[in-house]
Symmetry: C2
Subunit: 415 residues, 2 copies
């Protein structure tokens, strides 16, 4: 625990230095870090192999092993990620607003780093480099807590990045990795008020819940997505089928995949047979309510629990409604505030849906899969916020910043 | 606890209605609420008297009794507050940004209410009306948990406001007051994820800490202020004395009052005698470090603890430093991220201070007492945020909102 506190002290000292770095200096360090990853490729792979060996020994699921595995191409991609971040605009120092008060005080709202960002993540080791790059570009120090499964990989990446920073004359404490895998250390990390300004968990629903439950440091909840698509009575059926197929099956394990379909009663008989046939080609299981069951063979009855579930699998729940209003109410009840879509050619219905659905991203006639920092044109992404405080939806560089007011006077006092 | 959950369900239902109200409808209801407070003045005073009687019986401190007491003038002021909020611009619905992606998706960032705002506050009953007004104007439902000491007063104000809303055809669940004073209910309130979108504690350091420690709902920390004034070697001494006197003594019990003075060694002998004399006229106790003690009689030696303390009293700690850099480091170590000022005629020093001090509001040559929603021209204030997430410094109407992305396509799917 003393070690964690010392890490906190060092990050605290580093944040003041990082906040003052010029864009040029930061970009130069990012390029140096990218080069260092490539130059140390063999050492990184050697350490990664230790994690993989451990994983195989412990019977890790092949999908998980794949997420954990690095190779030259993946290390190049990590390096390329850092170079791309270097090319992005630096948001720090932007004057967001300036106003003069009647008493002559000149108040400016200036964009500044958060300070120390904490990130808790699961087994993909590329997050180590990626999260460092985004935090560093925005003048933040980052403290990382990766999964136990990827400890060797994360540690060597941290070491390479720290050395690269030092060789550029920048404090290596811009990045620190917590290597103690004891749960009590993780819990203490979540309660480092005064050291950590914001905590961003990246991972599955269980991880997010644990952080929300235990943290006293401000948290940005990310990435749990029970995304809905509502097919309105006035939908274009071709669009509907294409969008649903894309949102459900293009990549099943991601938070912006569609998990639940809501269908207007008046269109169910036109839509469902064609859709079910398309879904069958991808082996998608349909869990439907009674009204759908009555017109479609081969479905499984949906339970209440199905409507609230993020499957991350080839499964789709289907609910029938009689109006846009009922669709909105159903979605607001079961969604996770991530992304929901309406398929309709009716402008009034589209407006009603955009106004009524309470989620970060509300779509008309497009796939929910577009909820993504790159697809939004932010050039980067640290996560998808599903809370309302601070940031909502895809979080890029700006979302890793805050502001401060600077106020200039000439002796003003309050009357 | 079932009662609390039911209150949550009603607020949840109300938030969708409130989010859709026009500015006109909201302003009309605010005027009606103001009128109702004045019309029910006698009933409110009668209930307030019950709280005061209880307070006197329990030996409540006279200052606290004064904060608790209502009279016709104070009720008029509450009503006037609601009318003023009605006159402010409605931030809801503002399109903050719109951009078109290469694939034709049109993405708009639209300002929307938070949803359900929770507020936990101490004994001033005017907060009940005030917090309702700010949340209502921004389309939020509010759930209030006031202090036990003010229960009768808060309950009658809530009743009057709910009746006024109902008479305007608006759901009274726009405001709910938790009347169960059991601590377990307050704790459950702090953990109403899925019902409450943000929790704002308003009160002393103990209350804020309890909320930060216990809440799982996102919190905005407010109002703990250990504000510093640094008198640089190049300060104008008249400005310095005036500003320090104002910040320390104009109102001692507020979060933007000055608690700690940092003095450049080279100016201490010119500044301190004149300042000490002025402070003596207001009976301000000086707790100073050794270097100040050696040149000034009648001080008390400052301990380490003094530098970190929010006195809210006629006490001022004084620390000597040898440079702007050392002043910044001292302030960043001991401040609460609220407001800090430099007094200097040296532009380079001013810049260094503005850049280096990590607080919500950083001043040059002005009193820290200006950190206030009204003084900043926001027209209202729900609190002063001392955290970096979401909002920093004075929070007005905009800070009670979030945004959502609306995305319009014509069949786009992700490749």
């Amino acid at each position: 625990m003393t070690e964690l506190k010392q890490m906190g002290e060092r990050a605290l000292a580093a944040k003041y230095i990082l906040a003052a770095l010029s864009r040029e200096k930061k970009d130069q360090a990012l390029y140096a870090a990218a080069k260092a990853l490539q130059e140390n490729c063999q050492e990184i792979l050697k350490e990664n192999e230790k994690d993989l060996e451990e994983g195989r020994k412990n019977g890790m699921h092949p999908g998980m092993l794949d997420r954990l595995a690095l190779n030259e191409k993946r290390i190049d991609a990590m390096a390329e990620g850092l170079c791309q971040i270097a090319q992005l605009e630096d948001p720090i120092g932007e004057i967001m607003e300036t106003f003069t008060r009647p008493n002559g005080l000149v108040i400016s709202k200036r964009r500044v780093p958060m300070g120390v960002v904490g990130i808790i993540y699961e087994s993909r080791p590329n997050v180590t480099a990626d999260a460092f790059g985004l935090c560093f570009k925005t003048g933040n120090a980052v403290i990382l807590k990766g999964g136990k499964d990827a400890l060797h990989s994360n540690a060597v990446i941290e070491k390479v990045l720290r050395e690269a920073l030092a060789s550029e004359g920048i404090t290596p404490d811009a990045i620190s990795l917590i290597k103690d895998t004891d749960r009590s250390v993780t819990n203490a990390f979540m309660r480092m008020n005064g050291y950590v300004d914001v905590l961003i968990p990246r991972g599955g629903a269980g991880l997010i819940r644990a952080v929300v439950e235990n943290a006293t440091v401000p948290v940005i909840e990310t990435g749990t997505g029970n995304c809905h698509i509502f097919v309105d009575e006035d939908a274009d059926l071709t669009k509907a089928v294409n969008i649903i197929m894309n949102a459900k099956t293009q990549r099943i394990s991601v938070c912006n995949a569609c998990e639940s379909l809501v269908v207007h009663d008046k269109i169910k008989e036109k839509l469902m047979p064609a859709l079910a046939e398309a879904l069958r080609t991808k082996n998608v299981e349909i869990r439907a309510d009674e009204r759908i069951m009555s017109i479609l063979d081969g479905c499984i009855p949906a339970t209440e629990e199905d409507f609230g579930k993020e499957y991350l699998d080839y499964i789709l729940s289907v609910k029938t409604v009689d109006s846009v209003k009922e669709a909105i109410a159903h979605i607001n009840k079961y969604n996770t505030g991530h992304s929901d879509a309406i398929i309709t050619e009716n402008e009034a219905h589209a407006q009603e849906f955009l106004n009524g659905v309470d989620s970060a991203c509300v779509y008309v006639n497009a796939s929910t899969r577009f909820t993504d920092g790159f697809e939004f044109g932010f050039g980067a992404e640290i996560g998808i916020s599903t809370q309302k405080l601070h940031a909502r939806g895809p979080m890029g560089l700006k979302e890793l910043t805050t502001y401060k007011y600077t106020i200039r006077g000439n002796g003003q006092i309050r009357g």
